[in-house]
Amino acid sequence: MALLRSFLMRLISTAITLFGVAVIVFVVIRVVPGNPIAMMLPPGATDADIARLQAQYGFDKSIFQQFLIWLGDVVQGDFGTSISLRQPVSELVLNRLPATLELSIMALTIAVLLGGAMALLGTRYRGTKAEGAVDIGAGMALSIPDFLWGLVLILLFGVLWPIFNISGRISPALNIDFSTNFYLFEAILRLRFDVIGDLLGHMLMPALALAIPLAAIIAQLLKQSLKETMHLDYVTLARTRGYSEHSVIIHEALPNAVLPTLTLVGVQFTFLIGGTVIIERLFSYEGLGNMAIDAVINRDLPLIQGIVILFALLFTLVNLVVDMLYVVLNPRLRHA
């Protein structure tokens, strides 16, 4: 019951958050310099031409009126039409979302595996050179931003030892018609191993670039958390019962130590999704982030609004899921 109440409260706060984001984005992108109409004026445009274009895109009305019209349409699922791409915004962003989600989930998986492994290694061999190596590795990984990791990876695995594709999401020559835009998931379901290999060949470098800094954060926090847990009485008790150190870490310490890391992973995952904007651009990956940059350059206001709202929705949903998961996993909260 408490879980349901908590869930409902979070849904309400999500709706309020989204409304706030919508207001801020709508107003901010109209206040910052860069009028989309000015960008599409032909050389011989007259005042009448400018007025016609402004009316055509609804910019002749006040910001408040524009917002009300836009909000009314959004409530009915209509996010408007992109100025530069001349297609419905909802269709465009929903077509791109799967690419970004697949990339983000892949990055998160790598980060959790890599960071978790580093933390366990550092804990198992605490006080040795191995722990020092883990700390140094995590420090280095954290001090370099994801886009620089992207450049390093391109140089290493795209140019010097070209084993991965530098750009795109899938090889143009690959002959496959997808039913959805979740290419990787669909290829796995259809057991198309050639396509899976090709998709991974395109996805691994951007995913790794996104994952490395997050892996370092996970490694540091989980290791610290494990370190504290390892001194608790029940862990000592497990040792006295003759459990191996390996077993003590995995079966006794880890389940308790993982909770703070889980919260952090949830928060960091939203940052990771934000990071896709630059990484997708760098790797010419056809996701939402890449589209967002084009939308900003072209001052495509309806598209910017649609993308930001979708990102905001993603962020709040991820946080919601993490909070719910935390409640489920934490016995004290579960039974409260």
């Binding site: 000015a38 599409m40 004026l41 050389p43 465009l92 795109g168 084009d294």
Partner: protein, 508 residues
């Protein structure tokens, strides 16, 4: 099998060697040409919406669609779908002869009806053609046999030149009416050298050769154009052999890569120029200040130092391959003259004249750095300019509202090379692209818009350019040079418009 440390090391080295050898190499025969392009293609209809007036994507359109009148790589006009054209004696009508035997990508014949429909559609303001202000200058477009005629509503000397420029494409009447705008966007067909096989927005377009192309079948039967907007990634694409051709890489990288075995480079001056707009407000109302600023810039030094020599210094808004280029118009680098001019207006290095100059940063190669260098040169003669960095979108907004700072850096493209589309639109006060409101220039330009005597028209524009240079109403800086890199198996013929056309690429 027991895996020792040594055997693991050996296996790793062998795998690395295999991977290096097994991946794309420059010397391999190229079946499918892969181009890493610097921009993305937003939409396919080349006649409507903002994309239609984006010069950087015309190469995509020209691969799939035919312009009414094509431009040769040197910007001269050729024979295309329209083989011959002209005005009647009193210039009250235009006529165009349409090439026979041309087919659309779906096999339908291309007829004069298609040309007439395309032209009528372009002139209709409801279709959203951004160049309607030109196409609307003819009406009553008719097709008879292979000839198209139209009545002239308002004489426009550059009408036929626009047929080689933005939105000047012939579209298939029957197919477009059948599938509608959305259907055409989803499955575009044209009469150009390549057909669209696959299009992934923001990712790539895969083109298939049109074997029936009237100009001859393209050499490369399949071409993939990947949209790689990041310059570092484009460098990696060509260096790794993942792409066979790329363009617009930093000049330092261009020099480095073309020196490598297996990569060729070609750098060609294109129709884009870099210039500084002068808004006739504040201190810019003083001609001495403007002239001093113009004479204090060592353009060649900037090109040599910042652009590795890739650029052509210019003194008017015409490049050497434009029709109204006049090599006798010069604005020489003369810092002493600048000091004298400033002194005449009461300024010196101790009491400098102050104003703001706006520039983009990273929009064009070394744009910000060039302005920094110019500000440094100005400081030596008594000009203290404050740099304001803005985005290109803000430039458009401020320019349309005539609110640019006293000086503003910009790049201007003019693929048809006519003075109306360079000096005309940039310097004629009422144009939304001009911030110069001086009456003398306005009076000189006004009669040239409709001048029917071509020689007189061009001479008139040269006089305008001479006056503008003398009065320092704008500061032209340089003609840009486009760097193109290709693997050794591919020969690229650059087009001076800046459009990278796969049709002009052959095996070498």
């Amino acid at each position: 099998m027991k895996l020792s440390r040594r055997s693991l090391l050996k296996t790793s080295v062998a795998a690395a060697a295999f991977a290096t050898v097994g991946l794309p190499s420059f010397a391999q025969a190229i079946d499918e040409l892969v181009i890493a392009y610097n921009v993305t293609l937003p939409s396919w209809d080349p006649t409507v919406g903002p994309s239609a007036v984006n010069p950087t994507i015309q190469g995509f359109y020209q691969s799939v669609f035919d312009l009414y009148i094509p431009q040769n790589p040197d910007l001269s006009f050729g024979k295309g779908i329209i083989t011959d054209y002209g005005w009647n004696d009193d210039q009250s009508q235009i006529w165009m002869d349409v090439r026979e035997g041309v087919t659309w990508h779906n096999g339908d014949p291309l007829t004069a009806e298609d040309v007439a429909w395309s032209l009528t559609r372009a002139g209709n303001p409801d279709t959203g053609n951004p160049i309607q202000f030109i196409w609307g200058k003819v009406a009553n477009v008719k097709a008879e046999g292979n000839r198209v005629t139209a009545d002239v509503v308002e004489y426009e000397p550059t009408f036929f030149k626009w047929m080689s420029f933005l939105t000047g494409y012939v579209l298939p009447k029957k197919y477009y009416e059948e599938v509608g705008a959305e259907g055409f966007e989803a499955a575009p067909i044209g009469s150009g050298p390549y057909m669209v096989e696959k299009f992934e927005r923001n990712a790539f377009v895969r083109l298939k050769a049109n074997e029936n192309y009237w100009g001859g079948a393209p050499e490369f039967k399949t071409v993939t154009i990947k949209f790689v907007t990041d310059a570092a990634s484009r460098v990696a694409e060509i260096e790794s052999g993942n792409s066979h051709v790329t363009l617009e890489v930093p000049y330092e990288e261009f020099d480095r890569l073309k020196a490598k075995d297996g990569i060729d480079g070609v750098a060609t001056p294109i129709s884009d120029i870099g210039m500084i707009f002068i808004n006739d407000i504040d201190v810019m109302l003083d001609p001495n200040v403007r002239k001093a600023a113009a004479h204090a810039i060592d353009k060649q030094l900037i090109i040599d130092r910042l652009l590795s020599g890739y650029g052509v210094a210019i003194d008017t808004l015409q490049t050497p391959d434009y029709v109204a280029y006049d090599p006798s118009i010069k604005v020489p680098y003369d810092p002493e003259l600048s000091k004298k001019l400033l002194a005449d207006s009461g300024y010196s290095t101790d009491k400098p004249v102050k104003f703001t100059i706006q520039t983009t940063k990273g929009f064009k190669p070394k744009d910000y750095e060039m302005i920094q260098a110019i500000v440094g040169l100005w400081r030596k003669v008594g000009i203290e300019a404050e740099i304001e960095v803005y985005e290109i979108a803000k430039h458009y907004e401020l320019r349309a509202a005539d609110q640019l700072a006293p000086m503003a850096f910009y790049n201007w493209g003019n693929a048809v090379g006519d003075p109306t589309t360079s000096t005309g639109f940039a310097m004629f006060g009422p144009s939304p692209h001009s911030v110069w409101d001086g009456k003398e220039t306005f009076d000189m330009i006004l009669p040239l818009w409709g001048e029917k005597d071509e020689a007189k028209r061009i001479e008139g524009w040269k006089k305008v350019d001479a006056w503008i240079a003398e009065d320092a109403e704008v500061i032209p800086l340089l003609q840009y040079v486009q760097p193109i890199l290709s693997v050794s198996g591919v020969k690229v013929t650059p087009h001076h418009s800046g459009a990278l056309l796969p049709y002009l690429m052959t095996r070498s």
